[in-house]
Every structure is written in structure tokens, then in C-alpha cells.
């Protein structure tokens, strides 16, 4: 049952997607032809094998999140994806960010997600509540996102640091407390507001009698 309005929206959306992908790929093709910032050739080392393992963990985990019928397995897939991302940070020599990723996303967010799931019954039934977004629209969105990510990966002049075990904790600390002190404090203020808000929502209403 397609109303003309809906049909119009689909046409405009598809045209926009095709346009965006076209423009982005036109920008991308010279960079792709040049081989990107770093040559991909060279002997296959153990480090490469570990990298592909970590990348497979990330992608496989993300796929499990999206495709699993059981929400607990989705949560486990999220664990794999988050862990894989932490591994990718290690490959970028970002040790502090990698550990913070494990600490915040696995130690905090994922455990809260699991905790909430434990308290839910009927885990096996999946009711898709948003039926208007099907495979077609999902595919269109994915195409745009893929083009965007590829452009970012190849076009942005990345600030490449010499690889190896350069500790990053001290530079991050100095940056947060010197150059970016005001944004840092503002972020902490927002967190404080969140905490107070959570307490106000969660507390019991005590009526004066």
C-alpha cells in the first residue's frame, strides 16, 4: 500500500544517495589509484595476521549484533566488536585510548546492557517495532556511510606519528589540563548534571502528609 507521498520520499531519498555516492567516489578515485597514504605491499608478518584477526573480530561482532535473533548473543557480539576496536587502537599505538575503551565500553556500558537484559523476560522473541525501515532503506544508508568512511580514510591528511611504544598518557593529560581545560571542565559539568538527573528520576516520591 504505497501512497504517492511515500513514493516521492523514496525517489528523492534514492536520488540523494546516488548523488552523494557519486560525488564521493569521484573524489575518491584519484586517491584510491594513488594507493592511499601507505603502501599495502610487503611481507605478511605475524603482526599483520593479528591485525586481520582483530579486524575480523570487530566486523564479525558487529554483524552478530545486527543479525542475531537472541538479544544476549547480540550483547556478546557487541563485546567482540568493542574488544576488536580496542585492539585496533593498540595497533595505532594509542595505549591509553585502548584501555579506556575496554574500561568504559566493556566495563561500563556492556555490563549495564547485560544487566538490563538479565532483568527482562522473553528474550528470544524479537518484535521489530519500526517496520518502515526495511532492507532497502538500510542498504541505501549503508552505501552512503561506506562512501563517507572511505573518503575520510583516504582524503583526510592524517597526522602520522612514528609507530612503536610511544606512551600517550602524559601528552593526553597535559592537553586536557592546559590547552583544552575549559571543554574538559564543561564535559565534567554535563556528567554531573546527568548524575543528579539520574538520582532525581530514580528516587522515590515522598509525599508530605
Amino acid at each position: 500500500m504505497r501512497t504517492p507521498k511515500k513514493l516521492l520520499a523514496w525517489t528523492v531519498g534514492s536520488a540523494a544517495v546516488i548523488g552523494v555516492v557519486g560525488i564521493l567516489s569521484a573524489r575518491l578515485s584519484p586517491a584510491m589509484a594513488a594507493g592511499g597514504a601507505r603502501p599495502l605491499a610487503g611481507p605478511f608478518t605475524i603482526a599483520d595476521a593479528i591485525f586481520w584477526g582483530v579486524a575480523a573480530l570487530t566486523v564479525g561482532g558487529a554483524a552478530a549484533v545486527a543479525l542475531s535473533r537472541n538479544i544476549v548473543y547480540s550483547a556478546l557480539g557487541l563485546l567482540a566488536a568493542l574488544l576488536g576496536v580496542a585492539g585496533l587502537y593498540v595497533f595505532l599505538s594509542a595505549d591509553f585510548v585502548a584501555v579506556a575503551q575496554v574500561m568504559i565500553y566493556i566495563g561500563g556500558v556492556l555490563i549495564l546492557v547485560l544487566f538490563a537484559i538479565m532483568l527482562t523476560n522473553r528474550i528470544g522473541e524479537v518484535n521489530i517495532s519500526n517496520a518502515s525501515m526495511g532492507w532497502a532503506s538500510g542498504g541505501l544508508l549503508s552505501a552512503v556511510m561506506l562512501a563517507l568512511v572511505l573518503v575520510v580514510a583516504f582524503e583526510v591528511p592524517w597526522n602520522v606519528r612514528p609507530s612503536g611504544g610511544n606512551p600517550t598518557t602524559a601528552p593526553i593529560g597535559h592537553a586536557l589540563l592546559q590547552q583544552w581545560l575549559l571543554p574538559f571542565e564543561l564535559a565534567s559539568l554535563i556528567l554531573l548534571c546527568t548524575l543528579i538527573g539520574a538520582i532525581i528520576i530514580a528516587r522515590k516520591e515522598i509525599r508530605a502528609e
Binding site: 611481507p43 608478518t45 605475524i46 603482526a47 544476549v72 556478546l76 563485546l79 595505549d95 591509553f96 584501555v99 579506556a100 575496554v102 574500561m103 566493556i106 566495563g107 561500563g108 556492556l110 555490563i111 547485560l114 544487566f115 537484559i117 538479565m118 532483568l119 611504544g165 606512551p167 600517550t168 598518557t169
Partner: protein
């Protein structure tokens, strides 16, 4: 004056049995120490490079096999660390049961070997041969996978945990932060085991355990910040290097807030390890056995392996942060460098000194392990509301206060270092006096109850 009657071994024990047990009791710690010192060349890149250059005759930077040598060394190091954790966990299981028995006026396991020392090996074999049951209504895959998350959480901590001057698998620049982070795998494992068992006891146990661990991570993190502020680094080895060998050079004594932070951390670790008085997650009288109620055989053994290996981790983390770690009194960084010598491979004296530093670290850690066991068999379990009150109303504010005090204290200590030295000596003297009074009182109590005679013949 109390008299101690001590008969070891009991008269009539077979000589062969005595020999075997004593041999095992001496050989196993020696083996463990050897394993840990064996780690040193395995994880030390300059040493591995020197090995490739001088023994194998290749240039490390260009040779194709270099990465394979590194990989093999890391593999061996991993096996060594895991073996260490498994064997210490086993011995602690025997030790805890014996101590528990003494405290409750029982005898405890005393059949396998003299004083039951080989009991843990017998238990392990028994558990390996038991049937690996999976409840019919359980989610079989998650049920089988959950113990491995718990084991992974424990094993990953060992990567950054030092045990001697050069004995650490990886001296990460974010070491202590890493230890805090990977502990969360244990929580994931507990939640999964509780849910997948499909049993109300397991689910309640898992939810209690998670609430407890997540809450106590906050005061633990705040307490860890105090030594981090004093040392100016997150690296576990860096934290130890910032302390000294003598007690008054330890962080515990150098700053009054650090002493408070030590107790906050210790209590939080008891709670995170689900040790009494915080064992609400496996409260026998309420929840059968909590999140591992449905497990048997090998997987059941894994949970207990982690519980007892955690004892070493609890002690080692507290020793690293507050009690000077492996620092040998009177041995400075220059001494270490001069003993090592200028050659590619360290001199013999350096290896001997590694063993000494390992011994010092082990003595401090085992002292704390003893305290943990002693607390477990002395204090009753607290209620869940008391547990949450203790965390959020007392430990968290105290942790914040200790952190703020340390910030001021560090400024004072930089301005006038003598203040720090005097405080350290005064706090150390006070600790010695309190310990002395405690021992006196203990002796008095013992002689009152035991009529001047202490019977230790049951060991």
C-alpha cells in the same frame, strides 16, 4: 609464658610420605620462582635481540625469523604465567582450608600427604574426572563459554602484574589502569553464567555479584589514584620504582591519605573478589552457591581456580601500589645497573638479585593473602544494604577526600621534602607500636584460653 607443643610430622607417619610431601612443599615454590625468573629473558626485548644476534648469529632488525622468536617467547611467557596462577591457586586452596579448620577448631584435610599438603592435586584430578553437566533448560553455548570469560579476566591481569625488578610480562605505560579495565571480563563471565544457567539462584547470585563489583570499582579506582598521583605514572613498575626499599620509603607511610587509601583499596578488593564479608553473591544459606550453582567438574574447578588465584592478585596489587613492591632495602637503581654489568647478557649477581626481589615481593603478597584468609574466617557476612552503604556512603567520600588531600600533600612535599620524611617515620613508628601491642594482646588471649599451652600438633 605460653608453651607450644608442636609435633611434626605426627609420630608413626611413613618416612617416604614425609619425604615426598616435604619435597613437594620445597620444590613447588622453588619451581614457581624459577618460572617467574624464566619470564625475564622471554619478555625482555633487548635480551631477545642479544640472543638472536649472539647465539643465533642473525641481525634482529632484518632477519625473517625475529618475529617467530618473539612469538615463541611470548607463548612461553603466557604458559609460564598461567602455570604460576594455577599452582598458586591450588596451594592457596589447601592453605585456606587448613587455616579455616584451625580457626573453627577442626582438623581440615589431612589425608593426602603430610598435613594434607597434596590435597589440592587430588581435588583437581577428581574434578577433571567428574561429568561436565549442562542443565537441560540452560543455554548450552553460553553456559559452556562463561567460565572462560572469568578465567580470561584473571589471566589478563597477570600481564601487567609485576613480581620482581625485571619480572613482569609487559611493563605497560597504562599498567594499573589496564588491570582495572580487564577485571570487567570477570563480571561479564559472572553475568553470563548466571543468566545461561536458567536457575533463579544463579541469576540472583550473578546480579548481586555484578552490583557489588561495579559499585566497588569506584572506591577502588579512587584509592588507586592516590599512589598514581604520588608517583606521576600509571605503569606498575614505575609505581614501584617511585618507592624505596625501606618501609618509610613506601607510599603507605609517606602520606597519611595513602594509608587511608590502602584500606579503601583493600576493602574494595575483598568486595570485588567476592570474599567474605562480601560473599553475598555465593551466600550458601540463601543462594546455594550463587552464579556457579549449576556447574560441575572442570568448569566448576575453573571458578575456584580464579577465586584462589585472585588472592595472589589482591595481595600483589596492594603490594605494588602501597608497600614498596619488590624494592630491596639499600639497593638503588644505580646498584641494579652496576650489578647487571655492561655486557649483552646480565651478570650472575643480577640474576641472584632478581630472586631476592621476587622473594621480597612474595613475602609481602603472602602476608596480605594471610590477612584476606584470616578476615574470611573471622567476620560474618554483611547484608546487601550494609554492603551498599559501606561503599557509597563511606568509602567513596573517603576516597575523594584522600585524593584531594594527596593533591595538597604533593605540593607540600615538593615545597618541603622534610615534611614527608618526618611523617613517614612517625607513621611507621606508630604502625610498629600498634603491631607490638596487638601481638602482646594476642599472646595474652592465647594463654588465657589455652591454659598456657598451645597445641599445634594437628598440623
Amino acid at each position: 609464658m605460653a608453651q607450644f607443643s608442636f609435633a611434626f610430622p605426627k609420630p608413626g607417619t611413613k618416612k617416604l610420605l614425609v619425604g615426598a610431601t616435604l619435597g613437594a612443599a620445597l620444590a613447588i615454590p622453588a619451581l614457581l620462582a624459577g618460572l617467574l625468573v624464566f619470564l625475564v629473558p622471554m619478555v625482555n626485548k633487548p635480551l631477545l635481540d642479544a640472543f638472536i644476534r649472539e647465539k643465533l648469529g642473525h641481525v634482529p632488525a632484518t632477519w625473517v625469523g625475529t618475529q617467530w622468536v618473539y612469538a615463541a617467547a611470548l607463548f612461553l611467557a603466557g604458559i609460564a604465567m598461567f602455570t604460576f596462577a594455577a599452582i598458586t591457586g591450588g596451594i592457596f586452596s589447601w592453605y585456606e582450608r587448613r587455616v579455616a579448620a584451625r580457626i573453627q577448631s577442626r582438623i581440615g584435610p589431612n589425608r593426602v600427604g603430610v598435613a594434607g599438603f597434596l590435597q589440592w592435586i587430588a581435588d583437581a584430578v577428581k574434578l577433571l574426572f567428574k561429568e561436565d553437566l549442562v542443565p537441560g533448560e540452560a543455554d548450552a553455548m553460553l553456559f559452556r563459554a562463561a567460565p572462560y570469560f572469568v578465567v580470561a579476566g584473571m589471566t589478563l591481569v597477570l600481564v601487567a602484574l609485576p613480581a620482581g625488578q625485571a619480572i613482569v610480562v609487559a611493563d605497560l605505560d597504562v599498567g594499573i589502569f589496564y588491570i582495572l579495565a580487564v577485571t570487567s571480563f570477570i563480571v561479564v563471565g559472572i553475568l553470563l553464567s548466571g543468566w545461561s544457567s536458567n536457575s533463579k539462584w544463579s541469576l540472583f547470585g550473578a546480579i548481586r555479584a555484578t552490583a557489588q563489583v561495579v559499585s566497588y570499582e569506584v572506591p577502588a579506582g579512587l584509592a588507586i589514584l592516590v599512589p598514581v598521583l604520588m608517583a606521576g605514572t600509571l605503569s606498575t613498575q614505575g609505581l614501584i620504582r617511585a618507592q624505596g626499599g625501606w618501609p618509610w620509603e613506601w607510599f603507605f607511610f609517606r602520606n597519611p591519605a595513602a594509608a587511608v587509601a590502602f584500606f579503601i583499596l583493600f576493602i574494595s578488593q575483598l568486595a570485588e573478589g567476592n570474599r567474605t564479608p562480601f560473599d553475598l553473591a555465593e551466600a550458601e544459606s540463601e543462594l546455594v552457591a550463587g552464579y556457579f550453582s549449576e556447574y560441575s567438574g572442570f568448569r566448576f574447578a575453573l571458578y575456584f581456580l580464579v577465586e584462589w588465584a585472585n588472592l595472589w592478585i589482591i595481595g600483589a596489587v596492594a603490594t605494588t601500589l602501597f608497600l614498596g613492591g619488590w624494592q630491596i632495602p639499600g639497593v638503588s637503581a644505580q646498584t641494579w645497573a652496576s650489578v647487571r654489568g655492561a655486557g649483552s647478557f646480565p651478570a650472575f649477581g643480577w640474576w641472584a638479585l632478581q630472586f631476592v626481589s621476587l622473594g621480597i615481593f612474595a613475602v609481602k603478597t603472602l602476608f596480605l593473602v594471610n590477612v584476606v584468609i584470616w578476615i574470611r574466617w573471622t567476620l560474618p557476612r554483611i547484608r546487601i544494604d550494609q554492603m551498599m552503604n559501606l561503599c557509597w556512603k563511606y568509602l567513596v567520600p573517603a576516597g575523594f577526600a584522600a585524593m584531594l588531600f594527596t593533591l595538597v600533600w604533593q605540593m607540600v612535599a615538593t615545597w618541603a621534602p622534610i615534611v614527608e620524611k618526618i611523617t613517614a617515620l612517625v607513621v611507621f613508628a606508630a604502625t610498629v607500636w600498634v603491631t607490638w601491642r596487638f601481638l602482646q594482646q594476642t599472646r595474652k588471649n592465647v594463654s588465657l584460653i589455652a591454659h598456657e599451652r598451645v597445641d599445634l600438633s594437628n598440623w
